[in-house]
Every structure is written in C-alpha cells, then in structure tokens.
Amino acid sequence: MAQVSLRDRNLTQTRDVAPARQKNVGLLGVSLFIASESMFFLGLFLAWFFMRNTSDAWPPAGVTPPPIAPAIFNTAVALLSAFAVGLADRAIARDDRRGLVGGTVVAGALGVIFMAVQAIEFTELATLAQSSAYGSAFTFLLLFHVLRVFVGVILMAVLLVRALIGHFSSKRRLLVQATAMYWYFITGVWLVVFAVLYLIG
C-alpha cells in the first residue's frame, strides 16, 4: 500500500466519519491553544488587579507610569496590522497570492515597528520592573505580550516565504488562517493591556 503522509492519513480516516467535523482540525487546535494563552494573560491581569486592590496607592508613590504616547501609537499600529492580516487572509481565499504577499509584508513590518517601539520603552522599563510590584506587573504584561508579537512576526515571515515559493491556495490555507487567528488574538490582548495599564492605570 502506498505511503501516505500523516495529514492525509487523518483525512482518509475521518472522511467517512463526519466531514464537517474534521475540516477544521488545525484551527480547532489553534483556538484551544489561544484559549490557553488567554488564561496565561488572565493570570497576569488577576495578579495586577489583586496587587492594585491591596496597595495604598497605584502606582505607588515615587513611581511614575511610563508615557502613554508610544502606547497610543502602538495601538494604531496593532489595529492596522490586524487589518492587513485580514486582507491577506481574504486574498488567499480568492486565490490572490499577491494580496497574501502584500498583506503579510505590511503586517510583518507593522509588527516589527511595534516591537521596535516597545524595545525603546524597555530600556526604561528594566528599572521600573525592579522598583515596585506595579512596575513588575507593568513590565511583565508588556514583555509577554511583545514575545507573542515576536512569534507572530516569525509566523508572518514563514507565510511570506512560503507564499513567494508559491504555496497556499484557497483550498490550502490552514497556516494562513491559523496565523491570522493568532494575530487577532495578539491584537486583542494588546487592546486589553493598553486599557488596563494605561487607561485604568
């Protein structure tokens, strides 16, 4: 019998089971992974609010919160990049590979800009992190968010390279969809981070 790849094997096996069920196996995996990632951030947010509620002053006396301007700028960047990812995904659904390439380039570039802005901030955050619980939680939320952006940018690069060698089509775009989902998730987390750290304080 011919050798069959893993993915195909699952397809053959489950085709007769429930066609609708198995189609989104990969995406289901990604959604579950995202659920778990959300809980990680939920944990950090809970820590933030717990410490906020048990402290006399928040931020504590003598600690100045970082400026809000870069964060506002980054919020715009994040939203734009999510838009670009959406376009890229939509494009490949129409078999428009050039649209995919364009979308990933824009989104990836915006991701890099986002990271650059954060990196500039981090030079100051390092001392903030050691100043107080406020500073530590602040830094952690930014740090672990930006690590996700980093992963997202790498995924973008993978998409780009594979799109350039001609991978993906309207029928085979699982990785594009998965990356898009993850990217939306990162953007969503950023909005919450922004609201909690900078707006609520």
Partner: protein, 539 residues
Amino acid sequence: MASISIPIPLRERAKSGVLGWLATVDHKKIGIMYMVMSFAFFIAAGLMALLIRLQLAAPNLQVVDPNTYNQLFTMHGSAMIFLFTIPMLVGGFGNYFVPLMIGARDVAFPRLNAFSFWITLGAGLVMLIGFVFGARSDAAWTAYVPYSTKAYSPTVGMDIWLIGIILLGIGSTLGAVNFLVTVYSMRAPGMTAWRIPMFVWAMATTAVMVLLATPVLTAALIMLVADRNFNTQFFVANRVQLWQHMFWFYSHPAVYIMILPAMGIISEIIPVFSRKPLFGLRAVVISTVIIGLLGFTTWVHHMFVSGVDPAIERFFMFTTMVIAVPTGVKVFNWLATLWGGSLNFKTPLLMCLGFLATFVIGGISGVMQGSIPIDQYVHNSYFVVAHFHYVLFGGSVFGIFAALYYWGPKITGRMFDEKLGKLHFWLMFIGFNITFFPMHFLGLQGMPRRIATYDPGRGWELGNLIATIGAFILAFSVLIFIINAIKLRHGERATDDPWEGNTLEWSTSSPPPEYNFLEIPTVTSDRPLFDERMRTPHM
C-alpha cells in the same frame, strides 16, 4: 460488526530497537514510555515517603536531618503529583487508550504528542537529578511565598524546581490540545456523544481543565523565577495571598485532573466485570463535566485561614461542599452498576472496589474540611494529610493499578498472575488503611504536617508508629506488583478480549498493531463489543 474499510497507512516501517522508541510518534509507544517513566518516579517518590515515615516512626528520631526531611517531603509531594499521577493517567493511559477507544489510528498531532512526552521526561529528569545531586527545593510542593523567595530559599534547587514545573506545564498543555482535537474530530463513525466511552469523556474534561488552569500556574511560576533572579517585586510582603490564589487556581483543578481519569477508568472496568451497562451513563457524564466546571470555583478552600475576606470564604465554602453532590451521583451510579450484576472478582475489579471503599472516606473528610470552622481546626494538620492520601492514593492510585491490571494484557499481550494480583490488592488495601487512617486522629490530636520530628507526650506516638508499619506493608505490596510485572514476560498469552470488554480497544489484537485497527468499526451503541458478543453467543 459493521465496519468501514479505510486504507491502512504505513509510516516508514515501524522501526524496532532503541531508535524505534526514541523517534516514535506512535501514541501507543508514547503511552508506554509515559507509563514506565511515571512508574519509575512513583518508586522514587515512594522511597522518599518511606524515609519520611521512618523519621516520624517515633519521637525525636534523626534518620535524616531536618533539612533533608523538608527536601524529602517537598520532592515526594511534587513527584507524586507532577511526575507520577498526572503523567501516568493523562500521558500514559490517555495516550494509549483514547485513540483506541474512539477507533482512531493515532492522535490528531502525533509529533506534538512526542514533543510533550520528551519535554515532560526532560523536566522530570532535571528535577530528579537536581535532587540527587543536592540541588533541592525545600519549600514544600505548594512553594508558598515568601519562604520560596530568594531571601529564605537562596538555593539553586528552588530555581530548578520552578523551572521543572514550568516545563511540565507546557508539556501537559500541549497534550491537552492534542486530546481535545483528537476526541472531537477522530471518532469512529457512529460514535455520537452518548456513545463515547466514559474514560474518554473523563479525559476530555480533564484536558479542558489542564488547558485552562495550567497557564495561570505558569504565570505565577515565571513571576517567582523573575523575583528570585531579576529583582522584580511581585511577591513581597503584604501580598502573601497572591501566590496562594494563583497556585491554588491551578492546583485545586489539578486534584480533579488526577481523579477524573481514575473515575473514568473505574467507570469502564466496573461494567465489564459486572456484565452490566454503566448505570446512568448520562448522569455520570454530566456529573463529570459539572465536577470539571465546579473545580474552577473552589480554590479558596485551601486558604480558609490565610486571611481572605470572610464573605469570599463563605462563597467558596458553598462551592466546595456542592462538589460532593455530582461526586455522590457518580459513586451511587457505580454502586448501582454493581448491584444485581454478575461480579467477576478479578484483580481489576478488586482495585475498583478498593477505589470506592477508600475514595469515599477521602471525599467525606474533604467535605468536613470544606466547613470553615472545622478547617480552622484541621488545616495543615495530619487530618489533611489523611484526606489527600485517601483521595490521591485511595482514589487515583487504586484507579491506576486497576487500569494496569485491566489494560496490561492489551498492552503487553500477556496475562498477569491472578494470585499475585490478588495478594497485591489485599496487602495494598490493608497497608493503605493502616498507614493513613491513623493520620486522621493525629491531626485531630494537633499534629501539624511538615514537621521533621516531634516531642513525646502529645499523644502522637502510637498513631505514627502504626502509620510507619502500614507504609512498609504498602511498599511490600508494590514490590509484589513489580514482581508480577516482571513475571509478565512468561505470562499466559492474552487473547484479544480476555475480559469480555465493551469498548473498541478489545476489538483489535493484543498488543494492537501500529495502525490500531485493520478496519475502523462503526459504532452503534455505547458498548459496541458487548452487542457484538450478544449477536454471536459462543465466543
């Protein structure tokens, strides 16, 4: 049996030998590796328990010095929970039997599965090797701050412990994703929700709990690592409860992560050995899911004397006690399954009866602790130690041995020696109760846990001595199991279906081939094999 024919995929020919194991992505081989690994950690952690019991056998003994004692119970607890019970149930049985029971040829993401195993093994080895070479944590498995911060636990052992647990968390989270996708999308044709075997239901619920609870612990662990090594300020004084909240947000669900699969196991075995369907299958499934959900709402019962707002405490007292109701539903349904059955007292069933007899005691003492005033008396005493060994050993470990005896023939193709099996069961059952029942009284007599020794004259001598004797009976019983397992090589050959099983794993050969099933069966009830037997009376 009606079945459909699907071309059997061949991977690059199953490699044999060491490489075959190291490079495998076969869920069965991975399952076996998990089982062997966890059992090894069980022996290691059990030997630590024996040292603990020796030290406490009489007042003011110095079998080990207090520092070593503290390191021993820290590693004993951590290893039993993170390196034995969870990987054995979820990684071992879950991996091996979930795909078989749903009629699949593997899990959804086989390579991710292998990755989960290696990361778990790596973390376990790091923790154990660190322990052997003296890099030990002594902060208890709960690692409360500020004791676990740099100021009071300056050793690198603490960092190793923290990093080990982080890695274990990553391994089990990935595993959970895998299980859920597998169960959702790879079931045999006809396996609708109510035809999914109970064990699979339990594993799916467990996987959801792992998925949602673990990341919170991971966050807390990373925060502590950062506090210790990068001078962040999360766990400074005035906030000692933060760690406790984050820790128990994971670790209370974790206790259900350890019991639900064991409950799933006995829900499979009891019907087979009573020749009856599981009584109230739907009620059992629903209560499993409810336990899983409620499990997320009770963590503060570990903090009833920590200084939490009384109104909040009362809420958690309520949710804690409520869990007794769905758990009771399961217990009564198991009893009803036995009732009127045709009970075949083979070792697997005995282990299930052991589970029932002892778990109930642990459950009841759990409800007692759930009452805030009582917890303000028994918290952190040996009453609690008795409680959790009754649920963990009496529940999970009896469940694990039930599974080993039940599925052993399927995995190895050989039958266990029944006589030794029964001897193992009785010694373990008796030894277990001798070890842990007296601990209830020790706790009520005011003996705190985690003490390296104690003075005479407080009424604790007898109870401790008895417990120590019991622990050695227990160890002896485990020794008998090991002998039985070694004798397996020359055991009687197992047929495909030695127990007249109900679920799909018994429809394939023992041990199953790489691809599990030649043909994927079509399922028409919750007991496909039982129906099959009924159609062909003489088997």
